[in-house]
Symmetry: C2
Subunit: 243 residues, 2 copies
DNA sequence: CGATAAGTTGATTCGCATCAACTATTGTGG
DNA sequence: CCACAATAGTTGATGCGAATCAACTTATCG
């Protein structure tokens, strides 16, 4: 199933910078395959890089590192509009798998065509590059959080991040968003145990900051959640600029 | 002090891919300023991105996140040959400062000129991109380590990484390398307390894996250090390929 | 409506922070 | 060059945060 369009891509890049008409045309000429995955499916396996890069259309995709210890660790979460394995365009081996978290629709873009864009459109290339750099910023924010925050704060921080990312794509309604991750998944995200996560969540609830039922998170008091989780949205680079 | 050469840059990129003569020429035409810093100096401040990117020539540079909590966290260490803030070329705000760890020599490269390279040399651009992607891989490896390893293992893992990175630039002699970081610095790296780090180091010593005196680390048993620290060098992408 | 999975609660154990000496090393000025 | 100061490393005691194990309750789904 190959459709001749990638509106989504123009939209995503257009949020961060102005696109020239010919750039939009080039993007729309990319042939994409759209596939659906269900919970737990491997979208891209670790190892030698694939021939396609993928873009999340709906649902959530996780980057899962299989550590030597046998435990899986989630190193990134991706929401609609995120280009997940764009870096595979330049790297030889993927250090992680991409896994569907819940139902997930994904557009695959041929790497040859992307590479051609990097040959012909320097400005677009910089924007692609930027997307991977924002991922790196998020990694660093997580690292800083891991080194300085305790469970409760860490979870608050993460929820602020998700809230912000969902808000920019219009997925937050009345302070609530659909939550593809459950409490038990926090284990693979941060290495915290299930019961401990649960107690942390209860603490956040008790403070009147959030509610978190199975598949729905409601933020009651964003300002204080940010303070509690020591969250500063700067790192998400949600600004438009000439790049 | 502006010298008209950047041998180092050709060397660094040339390790990961074959460079065309005209690419080498373009790199060597970059004007660089070389500056020296001493321990604790700020090489690049956080905030609005600077007009230059920098390349470590000698010594060590750290990326330091100033978290909301007031505590500093090191999110990356950089050794000679590393392009530290290349990502500033595309981003608007730097999320961290770059700080000298011990004496440190750095080459500054003008961003305008780098940007021009991204306009004219797609292949070089992909290689620059790759450098930032390797940084991201290291971030992810650290995240996985943070979620799964305990102090002792974590330090072993980090020493394996440093060993490997130093080895590729010929800084390891008889299993020893000069260590710009002291035990007390591990606190800012991982969030571990000084005494706990110390006990971990002693454990590694007792196991006959390493020695770590003030400014020198000696790896006695690399194989077992890797096993102990669950280290797999794959993520450092020390391979040459067409990119 | 029973089966399964997610969430919740409690008890126990252990890793790591913290605080507080103390020792060894490096650096400094007289 | 030595004496002293400052810093890094080491050791011990104590308390807390988080893992672990086990039971139990609540949701979800066939």
């Amino acid at each position: 199933m190959t459709t001749k369009t990638s509106e989504l891509l123009s939209l995503v890049l257009g949020r961060r910078d102005r696109l020239e008409p010919e750039e939009r045309t080039a993007l729309s000429r990319l042939s994409v395959r759209t596939l659906k995955f269900s919970h737990g499916d491997t979208i891209i396996p670790a190892g030698p890089t694939a021939a396609e890069s993928c873009l999340v259309v709906s649902g959530m995709a996780l980057r899962v590192q299989s550590t030597w210890a046998g435990r899986d660790v989630v190193s990134a979460v991706h929401v609609p509009g995120d280009f997940v394995d764009l870096h595979a365009l330049v790297l030889e081996r993927l250090d992680h798998s991409v896994i569907a978290q819940g139902d997930c629709k994904v557009q695959f873009v041929d790497q040859q065509q992307l590479r051609k864009i990097t040959n012909d459109f320097p400005h677009l290339t910089r924007l692609f590059w930027m997307l991977t750099l924002i991922d790196a910023k998020i990694h660093r924010a997580w690292l800083a959080a891991a080194a300085t925050l305790r469970t409760n704060e860490r979870i608050a921080h993460f929820l602020c991040e998700l809230y912000t990312r969902y808000a920019t794509i219009g997925f937050v309604k009345n302070g609530s968003f659909e939550m593809p991750l459950q409490q038990k998944d926090m284990e693979r995200l941060f290495g915290f145990s299930r019961s401990h996560v649960n107690r942390a969540v209860q603490e956040l609830r008790a403070r009147g900051l959030i509610d978190w039922s199975r598949d729905q998170v409601t933020v009651h008091d964003l300002d204080n959640l940010k303070i509690y989780g020591k969250f500063d949205a700067d790192y998400l680079e949600i600004v438009s600029a000439r790049r």
